[in-house]
């Protein structure tokens, strides 16, 4: 219990950052993502990746190389009190809602969306690695760029970190397109993959795991721990050190803090925690407001 409560999602030395088992077990691994049975088997071995469990979507032998580059990148990053953590900030102006907004504003946004689904759904990276990739963007670039540009950045970063593409290849491709003037992208058809992606869109993933006994119960007073991890976390800054009440137990879920950095799923109970706005914002709080935040158990301590 004490261990749990004093847990801090720190980055250890490189050897403690466990890449997926398939990599540890065999150096560079190869995952056939075509046949569901083989895919499932491989999923068993990708113990540290949160990937879609609904089957195979790929007709390709995908080579995964050891995550050296990814891990080095993570180790170099010590800045995760990032600009993405926006709750409670001032200065961004009024909310600008667009009438009759299209789903995508530009053809390239549509492509980025499709590429993201196609690559994540094939298990090339998990959702926490995806979010962590965005959080590692330069903060100025983050604020200046649009949502789908964030996606482009993290998809590229994750595919490079996993060794599926190389940055020089990408740069060469970009130079070639610029030179050609017409910027024609080659076409490739794979109806089976298309069908699988649609199926996944409608089936989804499952982030819940075998239930663990929760340490807290509805009505317990808890304090959000004051942690400032240098890597990914889903504990917003505005709630750290603040006291709230457990509203209910949500179930046992994969932990993003570890899953984002190759340290495994490490499932924990998640709670809906209710905070009085006055306890978050003091005198500046608007009246008669409460904020609910879903929090993993290790984000909390008894209050």
């Amino acid at each position: 219990m004490l261990d749990q409560l004093t847990w801090t999602p720190e980055i250890g030395p490189a050897e403690m950052l466990s890449p997926p088992n398939m990599i540890r077990n065999g150096g560079a691994g190869r995952a056939c993502l075509r046949k569901p049975d083989i895919f499932s088997h491989q999923l068993e071995t990708i113990a540290h990746s949160r990937v879609l469990r609904v089957g195979c979507v790929c007709d390709t032998q995908v080579s995964f190389k050891p995550l050296t580059a990814a891990l080095q990148a993570v180790r170099g990053v010590r800045k995760m009190n990032g600009v993405h953590d926006l709750g409670g900030m001032h200065g961004f102006g009024s909310v600008q809602a667009e009438r009759d907004e299209p789903v995508f504003h530009r053809p390239w946004e549509r492509k980025v969306f499709g590429i993201m689904v196609a690559t994540m759904a094939q298990g090339m990276y998990n959702v926490d690695e995806f979010r962590f990739g965005i959080e590692q963007m330069d903060p100025v670039h983050y604020l200046e760029s649009s949502y789908y540009e964030h996606w482009l950045e993290t998809v590229q970063k994750n595919l490079i970190d996993k060794g599926l593409i190389k940055r020089p290849e990408l740069e060469a491709k970009l130079r070639g397109l610029k030179k050609s003037g017409s910027a024609v992208v080659p076409k490739r058809r794979d109806p089976a993959l298309a069908e699988r992606l649609i199926e996944i869109a409608h089936k989804g993933d499952d982030y819940m795991r075998e239930p663990l006994a929760p340490h807290f119960a509805a009505g317990d007073r808890v304090r959000a721990r004051n942690i400032n991890p240098p890597t990914h976390t889903r504990l917003p800054r505005y709630v750290r050190g603040k006291t709230g009440v457990i509203e209910r137990v949500r179930g046992t879920f994969v932990t993003p803090d570890t899953n984002a950095i190759g340290k495994g799923e490490q499932p924990q109970p998640v709670y809906s925690v209710r905070f009085n706005a006055k306890d978050l914002w003091g005198e500046q709080a608007e009246g008669n407001e409460v904020v609910y935040i879903d929090m993993w158990e290790k984000y909390l301590e008894p209050a």
Partner: protein, 210 residues
């Protein structure tokens, strides 16, 4: 904008980001990691099939069927699946009900988590820093910008989607809709009302935003 414009004989250069996307797509196709039809079809699904009309059907059903509403508030994922809606970013759904005493609104301060199977992909304002920063600290001021003035006696509950739970608001059924069919009721349910930055439309008001 995205395609090289051909004014006269001097094509405009593509914006850098559009070119970078093309470079990534071309490289992934060269390597056989993705396919054009797969990328396009999944995007098309969110343009044509998976959008806020799904959520509107869920809300309208809850308005006319108390037993369904009970199931929806108890186990939203299962109740929503009864109407055929499920999938990515809606695996673990929670529906929160607006009443005369309580108003709910949903935000994701850390990124832009949003219940795709019922609301589709999020609008730009939901993903932008203004909404994400302010919804938790001054929700009433944000609601005023959407034209919704909340009575001080009505508690406001803000749901920050920080984990894998995804939230949808069940708005109050508008007055004067007593005899309306489920199909007509669904037309009153806007995307904004299911995020909780608006009430559902009243019968005289044209549908907007959904």
């Amino acid at each position: 904008m995205d395609k090289g414009s051909t004014h006269g004989h001097h094509p405009q250069p593509l914006p850098d980001v559009a070119l970078r996307v093309k470079a990534l797509e071309a490289l992934l196709i060269d390597k056989g990691l993705i396919a054009t039809d797969a990328v396009d079809k999944v995007a098309e699904a969110y343009e044509k099939d998976i959008g806020p009309l799904n959520g509107a059907k869920v809300v309208a059903r809850a308005w006319v069927d108390p037993a369904y509403k009970g199931r929806l508030l108890k186990d939203a994922t299962a109740a929503i699946a009864e109407l055929g809606f499920s999938g990515m970013q809606g695996e673990h759904m929670v529906v929160v009900e607006n009443t005369d005493k309580v108003h709910n609104m949903v935000v994701c301060t850390l990124c832009s988590c949003y219940p795709w199977p019922v609301l589709g992909l999020p609008p730009v304002w939901y993903k932008a820093p203004a909404y994400r920063s302010r919804a938790v600290i001054e929700p009433r001021a944000v609601l005023r910008e959407f034209g919704l003035e909340l009575d001080d006696t009505r508690e406001i509950r803000v749901w920050d989607s920080s984990a894998e739970l995804r939230y949808m608001v069940l708005p109050r059924r508008p007055a004067g809709t007593g005899g309306m069919s489920e199909q007509r009721l669904a037309k009153l349910v806007t995307r904004e009302s299911m995020i909780g930055v608006a009430e559902a439309n009243t019968p005289g008001k044209a549908r907007k935003g959904a």
